[in-house]
């Protein structure tokens, strides 16, 4: 049964992740009074890219060609170990905790960075150096957030954290939890590559993630893009299921409640997508060096959760 649900979860994430970002684009365009592309546009794009010829830069090594597949595999593995449609561990759930998951995320990002370095393109190098300098500051914040969740739940297991927050209103309403959730939202915006950190177009010099994949084409680019959708889908799901809305996630093995929750989870994601669209439409892009101020504020939120813990709960 657990293996079956693992496969369901994997398919759920792989198939629905492009749709979420199609809906996000559509909502943003509608807010700007434009018609916008179809919500299925990411699927059309992927379909087109799968049929296109692959062109690889002359001087690149095999790393460049293989990186999208490796990172896609890593994100697929993460799909099997994170609480997406269940709050009980699936077949591979016990293999890693939050730190382990963070390491796999980090490894996938490293592979992508190596590939960008290998492409020998100036634009990719530009994006890479920016992503690396942002990541070097964003990762410690993420670790701080995980540590704080560990303090709340006594473990680093995302399933246990979900269970604790779902069943304890004291922890759910605590300042410590909400500071952590706020910090994670700020890091989420960085990881999603949304405004005010990054504009999602390749037509400007402020690009970060888009720059790194500039030399890709054909099926390589399709997997690169699809992997990106899966990564973002996973982060958004973790934000909802573990940090802000841990409710309704089935805590016991029951097939019907898991299927019902799959729909509920998609509705939660739609709510988050609408929130992100409104946030993006009401804010303008920061200049690149201002991104570090943003990260400093995110760090402050994560650190304040420590102080809130010692001031209100821990009373050391």
């Amino acid at each position: 049964m657990l293996v079956f649900l693992s496969v369901v979860q994997l398919l759920y994430v792989l198939l629905l992740s492009p749709l979420v970002f199609g809906i996000l684009s559509k909502i943003e365009e509608r807010i700007e009074s434009k018609k916008g592309p179809s919500i299925f546009q990411p699927y059309y794009d992927l379909y087109k890219l799968f049929r296109k010829e692959i062109i690889v830069p002359n001087h690149s090594s095999p790393i460049f060609h293989r990186a999208p597949y490796v990172s896609f595999a890593m994100y697929s593995l993460l799909t099997l170990v994170l609480p997406i449609i269940t709050a009980f561990p699936l077949q591979f759930g016990p293999t890693v905790d939050f730190i382990g998951g963070g390491l796999i995320f980090g490894a996938a990002a490293l592979v992508k960075k190596l590939a960008a370095l290998d492409s020998r393109s100036n634009y990719s190098h530009l994006g890479l150096s920016r992503a690396a300098s942002m990541g070097a500051l964003a990762e410690p914040i993420t670790v701080l957030i995980f540590i704080m969740l560990g303090v709340i739940s006594g473990t680093n297991n995302p399933y246990v954290i979900n269970n604790v927050l779902q069943s304890s209103s004291k922890w759910y309403l605590s300042l410590t939890h909400w500071f952590v959730a706020g910090a994670f939202f700020m890091v989420l915006v960085v990881e999603l590559g949304r405004l005010p950190i990054e504009r999602h177009s390749t037509a400007e010099l402020g690009m970060i993630d888009q720059g790194m994949s500039m030399e890709y084409s054909g099926m390589d680019l399709a997997f690169e893009k699809w992997g990106g959708y899966v990564k973002k889908f996973l982060l958004m799901s973790v934000f909802l299921n573990v940090y802000t809305m841990p409710f309704f996630v089935p805590m016991k093995l029951d097939l019907s409640s898991v299927f019902v929750y799959s729909g509920v989870h998609f509705l939660k994601l739609l709510g988050l997508v609408i929130g992100i669209a409104l946030f993006e439409e009401s804010i303008s892009k920061f200049r690149l060096f201002k991104n570090f101020d943003y990260l400093a504020f995110a760090f402050s939120l994560a650190f304040l959760s420590f102080l809130a813990f010692y001031t209100t709960v821990g009373r050391v």
């Binding site: 570090f292 402050s300 304040l304 809130a308 001031t311």
Partner: protein, 211 residues
Amino acid sequence: MRETFALVGFFEILMVLFMQWEIYTKKIITTFSISSYIIALFLFYLGIVQNSPYVIALSLISAFVRGFFIPWYMKRRIVRDHWREREIKPVISTAMSIVISLLIVVFAYVLYRITFYNSIHLVEGSIPMALLLQGAFLIISRRNAFIQLIGYMTMENALFLFEGYLFPGLPFIVEAGIVLDLIGIIAIAGVVVRMMKNSSVEMNESDELRG
């Protein structure tokens, strides 16, 4: 009540960190106004719980003077001094100043634990102390006179929070005196700002491009 105080206190700390992040003077003034309203609301709640008309009166005066009048007056002044609408060259870089402000909160917590805590025995008392030091740092880290003034009033807000919660029996006249004192400070600050404007250097195009 302790939870409410901690909630308000941490929200205030967050507001000061936001002020430290922000470079546009108007936004900083608006943030200060919101934080003042929240403190006034907390004092009002405290007054009702403790059945103290003095604290209620203080909250109303605080809401009017700090929440409405001073921010309104400062925004009016800024319209006349366009070049002061944002901090062009902070003394310390923004990201660094946010981190320092955060470290000040930690320092205040430690300082409080080894000093006042021995006689007050309320761990939340470190929050107003942190706000007080953060306000002082806001003054140090910025060159803009308006923002420095906001830093000063943040320190005053911290004092309000401190005495309102921990020493509710403090004579009303002292507290009201501080509020009235602020109006005088604002009037003096207006003169100082005008003098600074007359002696200020001209902005050039490259200054405009600074963060």
